[in-house]
Amino acid sequence: MNISLCILEIAVVLVGVALLLLDLWTKPQRKHLLGYLGAAGLGLVLVGSFFVPVTDVPQTAFGGMFVHDHLALFFKQLFLLATIGVLILSVEFAPRIESGISEFYTLSVFALSGMMFAASANNFVMVFVSLEVVTITFYILTSFMKNRMQSLEAGVKYLILGALSSAFLVYGIALVYGISGSMAFSDIAAKSELTLESNIFKLGILFVLAGLGFKIAAFPYQIWTPDVYQGAPTPATAFLAIGSKATGFVLILRVLYSAVPELALSWEHLFMAMAALTILYGNLCALPQRNLKRLLGYSSIANAGYLMLGIAALSPSGSTAILYYLGGYLFTILTAFTVITLVSRSAGNEDISSLAGLNERSPFLAFALTLSMVSLAGIPPLAGFFGKFLLVRAVIEQASSYSAYYLLAGVAVVGVAISIYYYFGVIRAIYWSKETPDTSPITTSGPIRFTLLAGLVGMLYLGIMPDRVLKIAELAAASLQY
């Protein structure tokens, strides 16, 4: 067994354990600084991840349960980046969490380890276990503000619906196992002529997809999203938006293309319908929102829909587009939530009106939030545009064989047009709202400025110089079989 393959996961768990231990010897008033230490530790792991050798032939460990390939490494780096951003953001958020801030950091790091294992999952047991590690830590993270009703409500909602989705997943896995007699993706793929005829097997895969659909907040499994996004502490929301969603997508890609490649190709209608409905639902429901986190919750549903376009395309370029889009989404969403944390700290709420006069209070924050909204709206020269461009390209590539894909592209266009309205509503609140209740300048700490700057550079880099990252994404997507 080749344990060196999961060296990154081991390092991350060690960082988590170290944080837990250091908590014992740190004075209470300095505990919030442990977050920086955690971020630095993960930063080292991230740097190390670039030196991890990857071969074009996937390597496996734990009897084939764990696979190490370009796709896994891409997602692991994505998760590491996301968690570093979230930890720095949590330090800023620490004063609003009454107790146990170091547990907050530790749990985030453990959730990260779950995500990283998920990126390497090559067996349904692995899918379930790694996903539960992520989900259970998120139950705690979302309800971390014990004295705030909204946070507790968010936690309970997430717990109930998350448990439901886990039940779907387990039930699906049981059906799949019952028919194919195996949990390993490669065994299941090898028995395709047996499984393709079985409706029970298809039902099992459908249940698995339902369970994963909860994670990415795709229609019709999106109900929990707005409430949980609004109620949860902002760093946890940001982590949900990028980490949990990316976990769902890597698992969907793995299950579809490693376990049931033939079945996936016959389900294009299902994926097309899901993508179209998710885009429309997310965008239409976001229109009347006044709470920024709730707005971003619906926007995250819409973005799940755009990402589903890549699944619906059922092609290598579709998967590449998903990876690229997630990379851009990471920088965009981290920037947005960082600014929202800083603004809501002084305003005490997350209403859009609290952005009034932000340009006078802190031009840098105003600029950062504007850029992230523009990127979410998919306007060049930012990351969101190039990601959407790749997704649309993947969809239209399929249109020559099946013209309903034009319709799907049309729905995406309508979705983007709707989304312009609410994203520009945010920008309007920043620059030209009439009432400016509060004009005190907003102070930002060094690490926060660093995160914001990294987010801005990331958005611009992915939008203007896509070549390098696109090649990496293509390489990663090529690890799957189509």
Partner: protein, 520 residues
Amino acid sequence: MSLLSFIIATPLIAAIGLLFVPRGYSYLYQIIARGAAGITFLLSLGMFLFYPQMASGPGGFKFYQKVAWVESIGINYQVGVDGINVGLILMGAAVALAASFACWGINRRERDFYFLFLVMVGGILGAFASLDVFFFYFFHELALVPTFIMIGVWGRGEDRNYATFKITIYLTIGAMLALVGLVALYVQSGAQTFDMIELTNHVKENPIPVDQQKVIFPLLLFGFGILVSLWPLHTWAPVGYGAAPTPAAMLHAGVLKKFGLYGLIRLAIPMVPEGIRAWLEVFCFLALGNILYCGWVAMRQKDLNFLIGNSSVAHMGMAFIGIASLSLIGITGAVAIMVAHGLLAALSFGLSGYLYHEKGSVEISQLGGLLQKIPFIGVCLVIAMLAGCGVPGFANFAGEILVLFGAWESLPWFVVAGAWGALIIGAVYCLRAIRNILHGALSEENSQFNDASTLTTKFPFLVLVILLVIFGVYPRLLTDRVSQSVEPLINQANDTTAQIVAPSAALLGQNTPTAVRVDF
């Protein structure tokens, strides 16, 4: 580096340079913006004049440059000019220069304003210079977003929030539809490149299947059409221009709007000619809607800005008809109209902006007898209105007459009749505007109007009027360049048709560059 890249880069570099000027030096912002626009204009003028002497690069394009950008999916930074866009770039640079001198009433957040202005200019010129489909779209969006922000922040009137949202949503839908069409073109051609030259050559050998052409063309028609204010999707234009600050209205109505027409000529004609023929009835019907309906609406306007806005929508119909004629003379005329109307629209919006700055409103009923008070502005307005109704001697006449000839050659009689009718409608509202604004008694409250007295205030109008007259008196300067480059496009369109529709006809040598007559 090619001269063309300098033309695109000058405003963009100046924009970045502006960010390093500390706040409070408003005159410095102005100097930088005007200087950059001036350099851009001189370079474009040089490029236009020396165009015939230059050696051609790939695909007959001059001042050509190519830099690989995203290799894996075939995106290159690629610029070059032929006869079609060399005039458009000159026109764009001239309008940008004029607009940089027409920034009256911009008195807050000046640095941001000039930054957006310069980005918009760079984006516009880049869009017209690009020979790569991706960059073509990219530069257009780069120019579009500043327009929205400029209307939102520096716009005027009660309705500016409404106008901002309306123009943003309409134009975004248009741009996205066009993007879907462009990507479809890329995918269906099978060329695996966004390079326009290679794409066109590839399609010449392997035409896109007819059923795909019939899907792609409407995407391009309605996508680009919304951007050009194709009836009935034009309603954003009068509202948007009514609320826009003067320089933004000049640049958008004058130059950026022509992007859609340019896209149809450059991409749709050579690559999806069968799509055009299949949709020709719809195309002509909508273009007539532009000419007649919007002309009619313009007659009823009480506000000078809305009158100009609607008449500019109506003029676009003429360009559409020129394109629909699919004939050498018609398309050459369409390009001439694009250049002429760009100058004219910028001139009209500039004048209207001047009047607004003086009085705070351009309600026609509140103006009157102004020619006595402001002779210079008045004469410019007369010129603009006469050019607008197609009086010979101005560039618009040259374009419109060519389009009429082209339509006569290959379109049904009622399209020609409709286009003729438009000239009458145009004359009605233009002459009526001259009478109501400039003639008659000067009322008490209008007696404090000031004429453009200094050279800097006169300058923007002078630039535009001079170019309008030059291209009007000597249109060959433009049309010789244009028709040379339009010819291969038309040939390709007809060859493609011959290849697909009747391979035997091609053998008999019937693929001559005349347009195919279409019977309704």
